[in-house]
């Protein structure tokens, strides 16, 4: 069995290597290799279901790094779930990508990166120790950097990739600090070893370690205040957004917290902190989602918001609920992104919802898929999000956080509003694609002119025979994955029917341990009542959206409304609550002025001056000692010998004195 585990881990990497080696020859074949290896890994993971859910999970020691430091792979329910999502949803997205990237020049490079990402992500979740986790953590960041900047001839893509990478490195530093502290405190690098030594961690230290871990989570999972990279990351191809920036990588923070559940259980202050940050992120993302026009940005903010829910869940101690939201979110968010990809593809790279409209007649399949995803994400009763989001929100009450509960419920309403706003704007009303920009109030994008120097297309890709642009992928290639994901977006939540006695709860067994409530339970009303309340809020959100964008009257007046809204959008939305500007003012500019100070003053006067003085001193000494330099090797040797003799005499006399 353990060989299978190794195969799961290495198959995507083998695919990446094969594509990398044969890329130019393969072209679209690269897509098939990539999808096949990942789907095969999915099947092999599924085969190991029994071993993983058995006590202790499937384990394979790989290599003894230094004696006492054995690195290995671990497949327990948690990593099984993540591996299945990574390879399963990932495989579907890869199949979809064959169609999406059909006429891209660099299709082979794309699939090499994607497979590399899957490998990196598997490294992260399958590792049984901190070192592997850290390596995986870094590698997914790298893969994400490659893929965001995939179209590196667009300055905005390059800048977005750089931004994502830099912010992720901030998180990596946090994780690294936590890793060192954990090793220092427990003397072990494997999870099992650390958890068995948990008592060695005192309250303050534990809080610091959890905090450092959470810095990493916040950067990778786009939590406030490190969330600014995620909307910009939508510069990458849409399948990338679906796989990395919605379904898998950004949920690594959720995985990390769930993985370190025993530590988290022991530190209520850390849980409270994480819960608050998750709630703030959820609310903020939802509010920002209201005012976006770019379809992928709307989805990006919704991702941020939904991850806020997950973090809130696992942070407060409701691991099953938080992870369940990850599970359902993977399906509906990937489905939403892929559907958005269908629209973008159909409209020739148009991403602005203002220039869409009325597409339900033109693309009924996309409409139904989008509808399924939307209903799932807002938590419409009967759809998957309903089960997971309600569980998360209700868990706030159980853990004695009524304020967080209120935020969660409010966010659910806002989510319903902005998701339906997007749905109405894209699929209803008149088609606005032929209208002038000014008519819709679209201002020239300031980012498009930020950098005049376009980096050239890589010569190797120019000389490569271009794939014929006019060929079209077979429709099923893109529709089939969307259909499967839409299906799961509807039904994925059913595993959790029955609450704590459902298959979902039993699947994890005692993996997470018991999380004592942060504060006394303040359950004000029963779970069904809470569900009713949230559903009512969601309904209000839908109704408001319908009134503003969906009713026949609103549809008729949509162009005027959009124009007014575009021009009247408050600056606070345009700047996404000024987080970028705040980071700029608080971090970037001070750092730059310190650098300038060092370059202008410290470097020439202190460092160079010091070196000059030392050089002068050495010259002065040289004048004195030059007399000793006779140029005769043997006289030098004799000098050394006299010195040695003195040493020997000293030690011989000391030794005899004892």
């Amino acid at each position: 069995m353990s060989g299978l585990l190794l195969a799961v881990w290495l198959l995507p990497f083998a695919g990446a290597l094969a594509i990398w080696a044969l890329g130019p020859q393969l072209r679209r074949g690269a897509g098939w290799i990539g999808s096949a290896t990942v789907l095969l890994a999915f099947v092999l993971t599924l085969v190991q279901w029994g071993a993983a859910t058995a006590s202790g999970g499937a384990h394979r020691a790989l290599v003894t790094w230094i004696p006492g430091f054995t690195l290995g792979l671990l497949l327990d329910p948690l990593s099984l779930l993540w591996s299945l999502i990574i390879t399963g949803v990932g495989g579907l997205i890869l199949v979809y990508s064959i169609g999406y990237m059909w006429s891209d020049r660099a299709i082979a490079r794309f699939f090499a990166y994607m497979n590399f990402f899957v490998f990196a992500m598997l490294t992260l979740v399958l590792s049984d120790n901190l070192v592997g986790l850290l390596v995986g953590w870094g590698l997914v960041g790298l893969a994400s950097y490659f893929l965001i900047g995939f179209w590196f001839d667009r300055p905005s893509a390059v800048e977005a990739a750089r931004k994502a990478f830099v912010i992720n490195v901030v998180g990596d530093v946090g994780i690294m600090f936590a890793v060192f502290a954990l090793y220092k405190a427990t003397g072990s690098i494997t999870f099992a070893g650390i958890f068995s030594q948990r008592d060695a961690l005192s309250g303050g230290l534990l809080f610091m370690i959890c905090g450092a871990l959470f810095v990493g989570c916040a950067a990778k999972s786009a939590q406030v205040p490190l969330q600014t990279w995620l909307p910009d990351a939508m510069e990458g191809p849409t399948p990338v957004s679906a796989l990395i920036h919605a379904a898998t990588m950004v949920t690594a923070g959720v995985y990390l917290i769930a993985r370190f559940a025993p530590l988290w259980n022991a530190s209520p202050p850390a849980r409270e902190l994480v819960g608050v940050v998750g709630a703030v992120t959820a609310l903020l993302g939802a509010i920002l989602g209201i005012a976006q026009w770019d379809i992928k940005r709307i989805l990006a903010y919704s991702t941020m918001s939904q991850i806020g829910y997950m973090i809130m869940g696992v942070g407060i101690g409701a691991y099953q609920a938080g992870v369940l939201h990850f599970f359902t979110h993977a399906f509906f968010k990937a489905g939403l992104f892929l559907t958005a990809g269908l629209l973008i593809h159909e409209l020739h790279d148009e991403q602005d919802v203002r220039k869409m409209g009325g597409l339900s007649r033109r693309m009924p399949f996309a409409f139904y898929a989008m509808l399924a995803g939307t209903l799932a994400i807002i938590g419409f009763p009967g759809f998957s999000g309903y089960f997971s989001k309600d569980a998360v929100v209700y868990a706030m009450l159980e853990h004695g956080q009524p304020a967080l509960y209120a935020v969660g419920a409010l966010t659910a309403a806002i989510t319903a509003y902005y998701m339906f706003r997007m749905l109405f704007l894209t699929f209803f009303g008149p088609y606005r694609g032929e209208l002038e920009d000014a008519e819709l109030g679209i201002l020239p994008d300031r980012r498009a002119h930020r950098d005049e120097h376009m980096p050239p297309v890589h010569p190797a890709e120019l000389t490569r025979p271009a794939v014929p642009v006019h060929g079209h992928a077979p429709a099923w290639l893109m529709n089939l994955p969307v259909a499967i994901l839409a299906l799961f977006a509807v039904i994925a939540g059913y595993v959790a029917i029955g609450g704590a006695t459902s298959p979902w709860w039993r699947f994890f067994g005692g993996l997470f341990g018991a999380a004592p409530a942060v504060a006394a339970s303040t359950v004000a009303f029963s779970e069904s009542l809470s569900t009713l309340l949230v559903s009512a809020l969601v309904a209000i959100g839908i109704i408001v959206a319908f009134v503003r964008y969906g009713s026949p009257a609103a549809q008729l007046a949509s162009v005027e409304r959009i124009r007014a809204e575009s021009l009247g959008r408050p600056a606070i939305f345009a700047h996404a609550f000024y987080f970028d500007d705040a980071i700029d003012a608080l971090v970037v500019r001070p750092a730059r002025s310190v650098g300038t100070f060092i370059a202008r003053f410290v470097d020439p006067h202190v460092l160079d001056g010091g070196v000059r003085d030392v050089a002068w001193g050495a010259g002065a000494l040289g004048v004195i000692f030059r007399a000793l330099q006779t140029g005769l090797v043997r006289s030098y040797a004799l000098t050394i010998l006299v010195g040695t003799a003195c040493f020997i005499a000293y030690f011989a006399l000391i030794g005899s004195a004892r």
Binding site: R60, A61, L62, V63, T64, G72
Partner: protein
Amino acid sequence: MIPWWAIALIKAAVILFVVVTTFAYSMLFERKIMAWMQLRPGPNRVGPWGMMQPAADAAKMMFKEDLTPETADPLIYRLAPFISLVCAMGTFAIIPFSESSAGIWGMGNVNAGILVIFALTSIGVYGISLAGWSSGSKFPLLGSVRSTAQMISYELALTMSVIGVLILAGTTSLVGIVHAQRGLWYIAPQLVGFIIFIIASVAETNRAPFDLVEAESELVGGFHTEYSGLRFGLFFIAEYLNMITVACIATLLFLGGWNPLFGLSIVPGIVWFIVKAGLFIFMYIWLRTTLPRLRYDRLMNFGWKFLLPVATLNLMVTAAVVAVTAG
């Protein structure tokens, strides 16, 4: 009770006798095979099928005048052949010829056996280079400089190719390595290593096509140009003994030593050993009759820029595979 040193002395004498006889007949073997490959009869005058030819050669060598050039450094000139011969013979002390190697078929089962063989081989270079230097003439000097560079260069590749086997076997004892090959001979997993070993060992023993050290068309006779008579004979013996040593090492490391083929354990192990080593020696002769000599710079380029990297790669792959499968 016979004292241990007497047993060792008797065993050494027997082994040396056998080895020197083997040398004599492997020379005949070579001449005959070369002749057949070139469609000539070969030596056939002395004794039936020329079987007494080695004795005749030996007699000739012994009675030939032993010359020492005036420009030569007399002491080192006389010392050099003995260094060569002693090192060549010394290796046989630790080559196990069969299972009961510490008993009747060899001198001792040394823990670091393969390393000791390499040590002795590396001392053997002195014979050639000192001979070339002390002759006081140009061709031998060139030959000796060539041999030094060539043997040090190819010793790296040779050692690298052998380390793959050592990693698989997990021991440096020759007996241990043969025991580790009971199931699978290392020629299969270490095919690349074996090929590198063949090439490097041909260069290491100064045999064609790598016999630049004594290339008669360029350097007359290389390092032994000035030697004659018995001293020349000593070099000659040393060269053949080195060839036999390499054949034995190849047999031990790659061809399973005395492990029987097809499970024919009814045939004694030493017979298998001799058959395998004989095949290896035959291959040597075959190479000599088939391939032309390389140019010297090409030889060095090949050794450093191709053979050594490939051997290193082989070593890394082997180590990686062992590390992964061991876990």
